[in-house]
Amino acid sequence: MNKREFLKGAIVFFPAGGVLSALARQAAGKETPAQATPPPAANGQQAYDPAHHLYGMGVDVDKCIGCNRCAVACKAENGVPDEPFYFRTWVERYTIARDGEVVVENISLGAVRETTQDAREIVRTFFVPKLCNHCANPPCVQVCPVNATFTTQDGAVIVDAERCIGCRYCIQACPYGARYLHPKTKTADKCTFCYHRLVKGLQPACVEVCPTQARIFGDLKSRASRLVRFRRLNKLHVLKPQLNTEPKVYYANLDGEVR
C-alpha cells in the first residue's frame, strides 16, 4: 500500500466509524433530559420532583454555641479534606470591643478556642455559622466560563466537577467566601445543601447534628416546612443585602457588625 492509498482509506474510515458509532449510540438510547430525572425513591414514596421544591436555610444566631459540630459533620458527609482550612460551612466568632473594634475569628480553623481579649473590654461576642448562601442571583454562576456551576431547579447552587476547569473565577467572585478549590480534584467545591440527602427526604448533615437547632432547613414552597415557620416568626436579615445576590440563607437575630 502506498502513501496515497493509505490516506484515502483513512479519510473514509475514521469519519465513517464515527458516524456509525454515533448512530449506534442514538439507536441504543435517545439522549433526552429524561435520562437525568432522579430514580424513584426506594421507600415507595413518589419520585422526587425538583420543580415542587425550593430550598433555603435559616440560622438563629442567638442559638449558636460555637461547638463546630456542623463543620465536622459536613466534612464527614461530603468528603471535604480534613485540613482545617478547607470547609463548605464554618463558624465565625465576632468579638466587639468597647472601643468599637470588631474581631472576627474562624473557629473552624481549630487554632482559636478561647477568646484572646480581656473580658472587661468586650461589649458583646457571639458565633455566626456561615455557608454558601445559595443566592437566587449568584455571582459565581455568572463568571463561570464553562457553565460548570449552576442553580438547580430546587434552588441549590452546585458545581459539576466533571466540567469545572479549576480556573477559580467563582472562588474570587463569591462575596461570602463560600468556595474553595478541592486539592484532590482541582475543581471548585462548595456547599450543595447536601443535595444527595435532599432528594432522599433527609436534612443536610449540618442541620442534622446541630445540638441547639440554630440551623433550620426547609422548603420555601411548602407552607408546612420549618423554614417557612421560621421566616414567619423571626425578623430576618441576609448577608450583604446591598449586593442584590438574594441569598436563600436567612439569619435571625443578626448583629449589625456581621459582614
Binding site: P38, P39, I158, H196, L202
Partner: protein
C-alpha cells in the same frame, strides 16, 4: 459560461469541509456536551446519587427505642444521635458489622459545655479545669438524660480551688467535714444553707493546743499555748486552714 475545473474542485472540498463540520457538531459530539440543560441535568443526577453518611434522626429509634424514649424527655431531646456518635448510615445498613463510637472521655462534652464568653447566656457551661478534674463526665451525668446530679458527691465539684490548695498543704488528710458541717440543703441550693465554720479557738485546739491528744490528731501537729497565743482572735483569722503554711 463554463465553470473552471479549479472552482469545481474547490467547491467539492469546501462542501466536504462543511459537511464534516456539521457532522461533527450534530452527530459526533454527544448532545450532553453542547446542551447546558442536558449536562446540568446529568450533573444534578450525579450529585443526587452520592452516598449518604448520616442516617438521619429517625433511623436510630427503630432499634434503640429505649434510649430514644429516655432522650426525648431529657434536656438533650433536640440533639441528634449522630451529633455525638458520628455518622452512622453504615451502622444502620449493617448493625452488627459497623459500630458507631461513643465518646466517653472528658474531651468531648466540653466541646459544647466548656465556658466560652461567646456562648449564649443561660447555656449550661462549666470550667473544665475546675469542675471535677480528670473525672469522665459520664461518671456523674448520663448523656441520654443529662440532669445535674442531685447532690454533688464531693465538695470539690464546686470548691475545686480549695480542694487543690488543701491537697498540697499539711491539712491534705483532713476531710472537709472534719471542720465544716454542710446541711443537706447546701448541696441542692448552696446559698440558701451555708456550711458551718469553726467558731471557737478550742476547735483548732483539739489538735494544736499544748497537751492535745485528740483521737487521730497527729503527734507532729504544731502545738501552741492557746492562753497566750493570738489573743482573742479566732485561729482562721490569721491562719488560712486550707493552706496553713501560707500566713495571711
Amino acid at each position: 459560461m463554463r465553470i473552471p475545473e479549479q472552482v469545481n474542485r474547490l467547491a467539492i472540498v469546501i462542501g466536504v469541509l462543511v459537511a464534516l463540520t456539521l457532522l461533527t457538531r450534530f452527530v459526533l459530539i454527544p448532545r450532553s456536551l453542547v446542551s447546558t440543560d442536558l449536562h446540568w441535568a446529568a450533573a444534578t443526577q450525579r450529585e443526587a446519587i452520592k452516598p449518604v453518611k448520616f442516617a438521619g434522626s429517625t433511623a436510630c429509634q427503630d432499634c434503640h427505642e429505649d434510649v430514644a424514649v429516655k432522650k426525648a424527655r431529657s434536656f438533650h431531646r433536640a440533639l441528634s444521635c449522630e451529633g455525638c456518635h458520628g455518622p452512622a448510615a453504615r451502622h444502620a445498613d449493617d448493625p452488627s458489622a459497623v459500630k458507631p463510637p461513643a465518646p466517653r472521655d472528658r474531651k468531648f462534652c466540653p466541646v459544647c459545655h466548656a465556658y466560652d464568653p461567646s456562648r449564649p447566656t443561660g447555656f449550661p457551661q462549666i470550667n473544665p479545669t475546675a469542675h471535677n478534674p480528670l473525672k469522665p463526665c459520664i461518671s456523674c451525668h448520663n448523656p441520654h438524660d443529662p440532669v445535674p446530679p442531685k447532690v454533688p458527691r464531693e465538695c470539690a465539684a464546686c470548691h475545686g480551688q480549695i480542694e487543690r490548695s488543701k491537697a498540697v498543704s499539711s491539712h491534705a488528710l483532713v476531710a472537709c467535714t472534719t471542720c465544716h458541717r454542710a446541711p443537706e440543703q447546701h448541696r441542692r441550693a448552696p446559698r440558701s444553707a451555708l456550711p458551718s465554720k469553726p467558731e471557737t479557738r478550742d476547735f483548732c485546739g483539739t489538735c494544736h493546743a499544748q497537751g492535745a491528744d485528740a483521737k487521730g490528731a497527729p503527734k507532729e501537729a504544731p502545738k501552741v499555748d492557746l492562753a497566750t497565743h493570738g489573743g482573742r482572735n479566732l485561729c482562721w483569722e490569721c491562719h488560712y486552714p486550707h493552706l496553713p503554711e501560707g500566713r495571711l
